[in-house]
Symmetry: C2
Subunit: 343 residues, 2 copies
C-alpha cells in the first residue's frame, strides 16, 4: 500500500532511524566531504540504509540552509525561436552534471512579461542569471538584478554600463565575411536588413555591414530596419526594399529574416540566387534544408550557451570577471542562396 500522503518522501530522519544514528551523522556520512568525520562502519550502515529506503536528498531544503538554490535563471525572448534551443541545451548540459538546474523564462520581448518573469526568478532565489534578451538601452530588469546582488552573464547582448560579462559570437567578422563573399561574386548593390536597432547585436551587425561595404571597391549598401527578428518582419522589410530599390543581394540580420526575404522573393516571382542572393545569420537548425539551402554565418550556439554557463559558475565560485568579454569565432557557410551577381 502506498503511503497515505502521496507526497511524503524519505527524509534524513528516516534514514537516521533505520541506521540507528542521529540525522546529523547521516548528513555527514552521505557527504563525501565530511564522511571522513564518521567511522567507516557507520558510513557503511548509513549508506546501506539510505539506498534501501531510496533516499534522495531534498535539494530545496539544503538550498534553504546553504543559501544556494542551485538554480540558474535563463532569460530568453522565445524558446520557439530556433536560435535558442541549442543555446539552452548548451547551458543545461553544462549545469546538469554540476548539480545546477536551469529555469527558463520567455519574455517575448515584452517589458512587462520580462519584469514578471524576473520576479518569479527572484522568488525562486536563483543563484545567477544568463540573460539572452537582446534589448539595448534601458535595462530595468538588469538593474534590478544588479541591485539585488544577483550574478549574471549576458549572452549575445551587452550589459550597457553594468559590469556583467558577455559571451557573444564574432558578429562583425561574420558580417564582413558575408559582404566579402558577395563582393567576390560580383555583387555591388547590397541591402542589409537589420533587426530592431535597439538590440545590441543588430547594431553591431549593421555597423559592421556599413564598414565592410565602404571598404570594398564600388560597393553600395543601405540598411533597412526590420520591426522584429521574425520571418514576417523580414518579409515586410523585403517587400519595402523591392518597392524602391533593386539590390542584387541581401544580408539579413538573422536566418528568420532571411526566410522572410526568400518568401518575399518567391511572391514577386524572383529567383534566388538567380535574381537576388541572400545571406542569413546564425545557421539555425535546418538552414540547409530550406528553399534554397541558405548561405549563412554559422554561430556556435551550443558552445555559447555552455561558455555562458561556465562563466556564471566561475563567477559564483568567486572569480572576478567584471566587463569580461568572450567572443566566439563564427564562419561563413556557403550554400545555394548566394550566386554570381546577375548582369
Amino acid at each position: 500500500m502506498p503511503q497515505r500522503d502521496s507526497t511524503r518522501r524519505v527524509t534524513l530522519d528516516d534514514v537516521a532511524k533505520r541506521a540507528g544514528v542521529h540525522k546529523a551523522t547521516v548528513s555527514r556520512a552521505l557527504d563525501p566531504a565530511t564522511a571522513g568525520l564518521i567511522s567507516d562502519e557507520t558510513v557503511r550502515r548509513v549508506r546501506e540504509a539510505a539506498s534501501e529506503l531510496g533516499y534522495v536528498p531534498n535539494i530545496v531544503a539544503r538550498g534553504l540552509r546553504k543559501n544556494a538554490s542551485m538554480t540558474i535563471g535563463v532569460v530568453i525572448p522565445d524558446l520557439t525561436n530556433p536560435f535558442f534551443p541549442p543555446i539552452v541545451r548548451g547551458i543545461e548540459d553544462h549545469l546538469q552534471p554540476r548539480g545546477y538546474t536551469a529555469l527558463i523564462a520567455n519574455t517575448d520581448g515584452d517589458d512587462a512579461a520580462e519584469a514578471a518573469q524576473f520576479t518569479t526568478l527572484l522568488g525562486r532565489r536563483v543563484d545567477g542569471l544568463i540573460v539572452a534578451t537582446g534589448r539595448h538601452g534601458d535595462q530595468p530588469v538588469l538593474e534590478r538584478a544588479h541591485e539585488a546582488g544577483v550574478r549574471a552573464v549576458m549572452l549575445n547582448r551587452d550589459a550597457g554600463s553594468l559590469p556583467y560579462p558577455l559571451v557573444t559570437g564574432d558578429d562583425a567578422t561574420g558580417v564582413t565575411a558575408a559582404v566579402e563573399h558577395l563582393h567576390e561574386l560580383g555583387h555591388r548593390d547590397v541591402v542589409h536588413i537589420a533587426g530592431p536597432l535597439d538590440l545590441s547585436t543588430s547594431i553591431v551587425r549593421a555597423d559592421a555591414f556599413r564598414t565592410a561595404v565602404a571598404a570594398r571597391d564600388g560597393m553600395r549598401g543601405s540598411v533597412v530596419e526590420a520591426s522584429a527578428l521574425t520571418v514576417s518582419a523580414g518579409r515586410e522589410s523585403m517587400e519595402a526594399v523591392l518597392a524602391d530599390e533593386a539590390p542584387t543581394a541581401i544580408v539579413a540580420s538573422n536566418d528568420l529574416i532571411a526566410l522572410g526575404v526568400l518568401r518575399a522573393l518567391r511572391a514577386h516571382g524572383l529567383e534566388c540566387p538567380g535574381d537576388v542572393s541572400v545571406v542569413g545569420f546564425n545557421d539555425m537548425p535546418f538552414a540547409e534544408d530550406v528553399q534554397p539551402p541558405l548561405t549563412t554565418v554559422h554561430v556556435p550556439t551550443t558552445e555559447m550557451g555552455a561558455e555562458a554557463a561556465r562563466m556564471l559558475l566561475a563567477q559564483l565560485d568567486g572569480e572576478q570577471q567584471d566587463h569580461a568579454r568572450i567572443v566566439l569565432p563564427v564562419s561563413l557557410v556557403v550554400r545555394d542562396s548566394t550566386g554570381p551577381a546577375p548582369r
Copy 2:
C-alpha cells in the same frame, strides 16, 4: 553600498520589523486569503513596508513548509528537436500565471540519462511530471515515479499499465488522411518510414498506415523502421528503400525523417514531388520553408503542451483522471512535396 553578503535578500522578518509587527502578521497580511484576519490599517502598513523594501517571498521556503515545490518536471528527449519547443512553451505559458515553474530535462533517449534526470527532479521535489519521451515497453523511470507517488501526465506516449493520463494528437486520423491524399493523387506504391518501433507513437502510426493502405483499392504499402526520429536516420532508411523498391510516395513518421528522405532523393537525382511524393508528420516550424515546402500533418503542439499542463494541475488539485485520454485533432496540410503519381 550594497549589502556585504551579496546573496542576502529581504525576508519576512525584515518587513515585520519595518512595519512594527510580527512576521506571522506579515505573512497573513500579504496573503489575500488570510488578509481578512488582519486589520485594514495593519495590512496597509505591511504592504507599504513590503513594497518599500522590495520584498519578494521566498517560494522555496514556502514550498518547504507547504510541501509543494510549485515546480513541474518536463521530461523530453531533446529540446533541439523542433517538435518540442512549442510543446514546452505551451506548458510554460500555462504554468507561469499559476505560480508553477517548469524544469526541463533532456534524456536523449538514453536510459541512464533519463534515470539521472529523474533523480534530479525527485531531489527538487517536483509536484508533478509531464513525460514526453516516447519510449514504449519498459519504463523503469515511470514506475519509480509511480512508486514515489509522483503525479504525472504523459504526452504523446502511453503509460503502459500505469494509470497516468495521456495527451496526444490524433495520429491514426493524420496518417489516414495522408494515405488518402496520396491515393487521390494516384499513388499506389507507398512506403511508410516509421520511427523506432519501441515508441508508442511510431507503432500507432505504422498500424494506421497499414490499415489505411489495405482499405484502399489497389494500394500496396510497406513499412520500414528508421533507427531514430532524425534527419540522418530518415536519410539512411530512404537510401535503403531506394536500393530495392520503387515507391512513388513516402509517408514519414515525422518531419525530420521526411527531411532525411528529401536529402536522399536529392542525392539520387530524384525530384520531389516529380518522381517521389513525401508526406511528413507534425508540421514542425518552418516546414513550409523547406525544399520543397513540406506536405505534412499539422499537430497542435502548443495546445498539447498547454493541455498536458492543465491536466496535471487538475490532478494536483485532486481531480481523479486515471487512464484518461485526450486526443487532439490534427489536419493534413498540403504543400508542394506531394503531387500526382508519375506514370
